[in-house]
Symmetry: C2
Subunit: 355 residues, 2 copies
């Protein structure tokens, strides 16, 4: 859908012609009361369920959770998954054409915040006739937006599930983001963000790949890498003669995969929205902001998550009125546990929807 009016931005100015791409599963109830909003993380998109297909280079990132008889039961619920504003899978972002229709925004895409992203999603809810979500759920960056929804629109969120997320980006999260953004910006193929007319393979792929490698290590856990890879060489490569260790090949693989499907400018724009995330900004601080939430809430973290350590989710569980005790997802996979431990996440969804 396309917003009718230019979107006012938190830091000033407006963004005209905003388009939000989204996918839905299930059928909306006449009163819209069965709608669930699922919000994706940094490199996710609207394709939360279903196989890879044209326009969706990867299978649904929560396929096990969404469908008939699954925790987000599409025989019962109407599941809506928008691509985030600033992203690169259909919603307006740096790769979109500027209002003059002649060239992409590129490096001139405005600075946006998670509050701007949620403001656009509020207009999507209006357009779909959904007054109140039965559930808003998200992990990591998606959890930041889910929290913003519940704080800024408390009457429109009946239940809230926050996974592996935080009320405000930490110094460490900002530090990792800094190294990643610099890796992209300093790639000579980045050209200040105006690389869309580059010849194939000439974009800022190396920089984006390095950013992904940094991020990927922070997403996993040391014990998992130790058990999976140890010091094994990759195949018959010899690390003592120019070859790679298996863990290096694994990082190369994840970097290559992301570079093929994701836009470097979007990576920067979205990473900066995470750096800027502080639900207490202009609201009298974190504690006051969390008190605004009226949704039935569950907060969960992953025990091995070092990027979003449990203390961040503990702060949310303690601060949101009526939130149950912090739930801990057990996983060796680190931050990525919220994407991988489908059974444990599904049980939390079911508990919340029953409540």
């Amino acid at each position: 859908m396309t917003l009718e009016r230019p979107l006012p931005l938190e830091t000033g100015g407006t963004l005209p012609g905003v388009r939000l791409a989204y996918e839905t599963w299930g059928t909306p109830a006449p009163d819209g009361s069965n709608a669930v909003l699922v919000l994706h993380a940094l490199t996710g998109d609207s394709h939360a369920a279903g196989p890879a297909e044209p326009g969706h280079p990867t299978p649904g990132w929560w396929d096990g959770l969404i469908g008939p008889g699954r925790p987000l039961d599409t025989d019962r619920y109407f599941v809506v998954v928008p691509n985030v504003l600033g992203g690169c899978q259909g919603s307006t972002g740096p790769a979109s054409l500027r209002p003059d229709g002649r060239r992409p925004w590129g490096g001139s895409f405005p600075y946006i915040t998670q509050r701007d992203q949620v403001a656009a999603e509020v207009q999507l809810a209006d357009a779909l006739g959904i007054d109140r979500w039965a559930l808003v759920v998200g992990g990591s960056m998606g959890g930041m937006r889910a929290l913003e929804w519940a704080v800024s629109q408390p009457d429109r969120v009946a239940a809230l599930l926050l996974l592996a997320t935080t009320g405000a980006a930490s110094a460490e999260q900002i530090a990792w983001a800094n190294a990643q953004i610099q890796a992209i910006r300093s790639d000579p193929g980045f050209r200040g963000g105006d690389y869309y007319d580059a010849a194939p393979g000439q974009g800022p792929h190396t920089g984006l790949g390095i950013a992904r490698k940094i991020a990927h290590v922070t997403y996993r856990s040391e014990p998992e890498l130790r058990v999976r890879f140890g010091r094994r060489p990759q195949g018959d490569e010899d690390p003592f003669r120019g070859g790679r260790f298996a863990v290096e090949s694994y990082l190369d693989h994840h970097a290559d995969k992301l570079v093929r499907r994701f836009d470097a400018n979007s990576y920067i724009v979205l990473t900066e929205t995470m750096n800027g995330h502080d639900v207490g900004r202009g609201r009298g601080g974190m504690a006051a902001a969390l008190r605004r939430v009226t949704a039935r809430t569950l907060v969960a973290g992953v025990d091995s998550d070092r990027l979003y350590p449990l203390y961040q989710q503990q702060e949310l569980a303690a601060g949101i009125p009526g939130a149950d005790r912090l739930r801990v997802i057990e996983s060796p996979a680190g931050h990525d546990g919220f994407l991988i431990e489908i059974e444990q996440v599904g049980a939390l969804i079911e508990e919340l929807l029953k409540g």
Copy 2:
């Protein structure tokens, strides 16, 4: 000193004209029995004590430990600190001239291992007339070499202090190294390592700076960054309008500082020696290698160290015959604790030298 003969390398070939720079403090006993070998970490050098001075851009990195009346008491001990082979502070490395004397090694510097580095240091000990070190001590990469000394030359190491180090680089350590090395190599200023004739400011400074930022975060701890920086902006900069958070300025500062004093090729060569480090290679595995050690040994880790987690030092303490129980240095500073917690390190040195 310059090695008389070309140094045979573990993976084949030789390195001719090897020079090892070193500094000493104190006076050698006539029988050389009071000599202590201090081995520096990745970006350290021979200047372990004393102020910054021409040729030594930074003050001694263990100044509080070395001097009259200090734990490494220079009224009593003869302290020797070589710059590592492959480094860039006086010892032979990629910035050194090739044997033809016409241009630096640059990208053609041979692949070396920690065993090659120790083999060169053995020749330094011979030249100084030191048959047996009263103590060999090192942290991080320096601890890897200290361990190699004790395993490969057990009769020449009377006491051994291993700090925040490992018997073999882990998958995670290799993963972080991979991202760092790629950041340097993909800097257009790197030019395959042959950048020494570049105009001022045209070297691979950005790539080396990104590598340093990645490394620096791994060297510290999340709680420390949280307490020191939180989400504070830097000075009157506004992160919502192009400014930086304080933690970003901190990383910029450390990147700038390293880039001014360290050579990018050396950074890669030394990082690769760490990736290759496995004291058990060709020796029947780690356990068998550790059993060769005859030195009185103490092994210590830092409680907040996530790059060299305590399990790595536990493995050393358990495997080295007679090594006392694992000692734990308490510090919020992460891996860098071995450089910062001088009092606790000093107490370990004194305990070992008394023993």
